[in-house]
């Protein structure tokens, strides 16, 4: 039982990270109907910016942890957003109105280009980071197993929930969110009521990238090591999460992320850690076969 609770905590932490990345996939799909395969790399870049920022702030002698965390988050979100914006501007916008596969191919190219860019700049070796937030609560202590909830896990889950809540509100209530939903439902009509569609799409990439950057910050803290290739696996897992939840659906991406995180963690804990990725991707296959619209997605036929 203790072991189970511990895995639940670990799974939710991982799921929060996947969920944050998955939002970027699902929003971009919703608004322009393409899978942004470079999104995993954007997340990876967010992690690298976080790493650099942590090291720089430590060198400057800043030791107040909440302040450090806040600064790193802001810097990483800001700079990663610039990457997200740039990717859309140079790799996708010129292809709008082209055949459907064109932006997809461009996205894969962008993904490879960003990976190599970071590899050249930062080297291929794994980069470590000293633990920034250490310690935690011992929830249950028994002779066999001790359940711990680290401060970092609390930070990750609370921050994720706060961001998701804020983000959902933004989409549901603000003029920008309304414009985004309008572009998603009918881009021609959105332009006819005066929405600047290109700008709205750009902002969608900016938001997705900023959320992925938060995931990057958290992963850097949680695992303490990153390299130029982390975006690939995390990216396709988050994509799986978005498909599981129903691609295009915001709550779906959050739910899907959580489920993928839990599945992966429990599979590692109770079966074999080597095959944890197989478990996650088996879900992708099963969802695509039996419920292509995902858990919370709406059927594709609804087209006016």
């Amino acid at each position: 039982m203790e072991y189970f609770i511990q895995q639940l905590i670990n799974g939710m932490t991982l799921g929060a990270i996947y969920g944050l990345i998955a939002i970027g996939y699902t929003m971009v799909y919703g608004i322009i109907g393409m899978i942004n395969f470079a999104h995993g790399e954007v997340y990876m870049i967010g992690a690298f910016i976080a790493l650099i920022a942590f090291i720089l702030l430590a060198k400057l002698g800043l030791a107040t942890i909440p302040l450090v965390l806040l600064l790193v988050l802001l810097v990483s979100m800001g700079l990663t957003a610039v990457y997200g914006w740039t990717v859309e501007r140079i790799a996708y916008r010129p292809l709008r109105g082209s055949f459907r596969l064109a932006p997809l191919i461009s996205a894969i190219g962008m993904s490879i280009a960003l990976q190599n860019y970071v590899q050249v700049l930062q080297g291929a070796r794994v980069k470590p980071l000293q633990p920034v937030i250490a310690g935690g609560f011992k929830l249950i202590e028994s002779s066999a197993f001790t359940v711990t909830l680290s401060y970092l896990q609390i930070v990750i889950v609370v921050l994720t929930l706060a961001l998701m809540a804020g983000f959902s509100l933004l989409i549901a209530r603000t003029p920008l969110g309304r414009a985004q939903r309008a572009c998603e439902q009918d881009r021609v009509m959105a332009a006819l009521v005066g929405v600047d569609v290109d700008r709205t799409i750009s902002l969608t990439f900016v938001m997705g990238a900023a959320l992925a950057a938060v995931a990057g910050v958290m992963v850097t803290l949680y695992y303490g090591v990153i390299d130029f290739f982390i975006g690939f696996l995390a990216g396709i897992k988050a994509f799986t999460a978005a498909v599981l939840g129903g691609i295009g659906s915001l709550p779906g991406a959050m739910l899907g992320g959580l489920l993928i995180g839990l599945v992966e963690t429990f599979w590692s804990a109770y079966f074999t850690i080597e095959y944890k990725d197989v478990a996650a991707f088996a879900i992708l296959v099963l969802v695509l076969i039996f419920r292509p619209t995902g858990l919370l997605g709406r059927p594709e036929v609804e087209k006016v």
Binding site: R178, A179, R181, D186, A191, L192, V193, G194, V197, E302
Partner: protein, 241 residues
């Protein structure tokens, strides 16, 4: 002239949908464009809105050349379009559709404008929380016009507002168009297949055949023209029953 279209050619791929259209709409006028299915009426309205852009020719709105502007920039200059098929945002409430209609408006005007369109179309007030996609055809058309009015346009474009609607609803909608024109002074450019209602409402009319203007005159003149009567009115009259 509020809107003048000169020598406009528009292509869809290789198909030339507009073959040199010349047309004018004066401030405060109601002008209608009638013609058969596929004549290019919808294309003309969309070309005025910059989607697709004219391949040749000039479109001038209020003294400014808007031919090369993108859609949202054209709309921000005071043109609103209630397009073909209504294009209500299906998964948004009536209120949200109207909020989107007010995208380019001032936030402080929203409450007044909302009240104004609810006065014109009371049914929308009852349906305010309902999703656009669940409204009836007539309600959707009213919402499309109301949404267009939310931006306080100087020029209102309408693409077949009577299509597929019951005669009572058509009558109501044309009554509202008359009021918008008379009371608010909004210029109306109306594309219709229902020539009877359109010509009765309009100050002037144009007839489009195969992507070009074939005939023009006052509404009264066109209604009296034997060729027009035969081609567009004999069928349209059934509405009166």
């Amino acid at each position: 002239m509020m809107l003048s279209v000169t020598g406009v050619h528009t292509f869809y791929g290789h198909i030339e949908a507009l073959k040199g259209v010349d047309l004018e709409v004066g401030a405060g006028e109601v002008v209608t464009l009638i013609g058969a299915n596929g004549a290019g009426k919808t294309t003309l309205l969309m070309t005025v809105c910059g989607n697709p852009q004219a391949a040749q020719g000039r479109i001038v709105f209020d003294g400014e050349d808007i031919t090369r502007l993108s859609t949202y920039e054209i709309v921000r200059r005071g043109i609103a379009h209630a397009p073909e098929g209504r294009r209500i945002f299906p998964r948004m409430s009536v209120i949200e559709n109207l909020q989107l209609g007010a995208t380019i408006g001032q936030p402080e005007d929203f409450a007044d404008d909302l009240e104004r369109v609810f006065l014109l179309f009371p049914i929308l007030k009852e349906r305010r929380e309902q999703r656009g996609g669940t409204l009836s055809g007539g309600e959707q058309q009213m919402l499309a016009i109301a949404r267009a009015l939310m931006s306080r346009p100087r020029l209102l474009l309408l693409d077949e507002p009577s299509l597929g609607l019951a005669p009572m609803v058509v009558k109501h909608i044309f009554g509202v168009l008359r009021r918008i024109n008379r009371e608010a002074g909004t210029t109306v450019f109306l594309v219709e297949q229902n020539a009877f209602h359109a010509l009765r409402l309009a100050d002037r009319g144009y007839v489009m055949v195969n992507g070009a203007i074939a005939m023009t005159g006052t509404g009264r003149e066109l209604m009296a023209d034997p060729e027009i009567r035969r081609a567009y009115l004999e069928g349209g009259r059934r509405d009166r029953a």
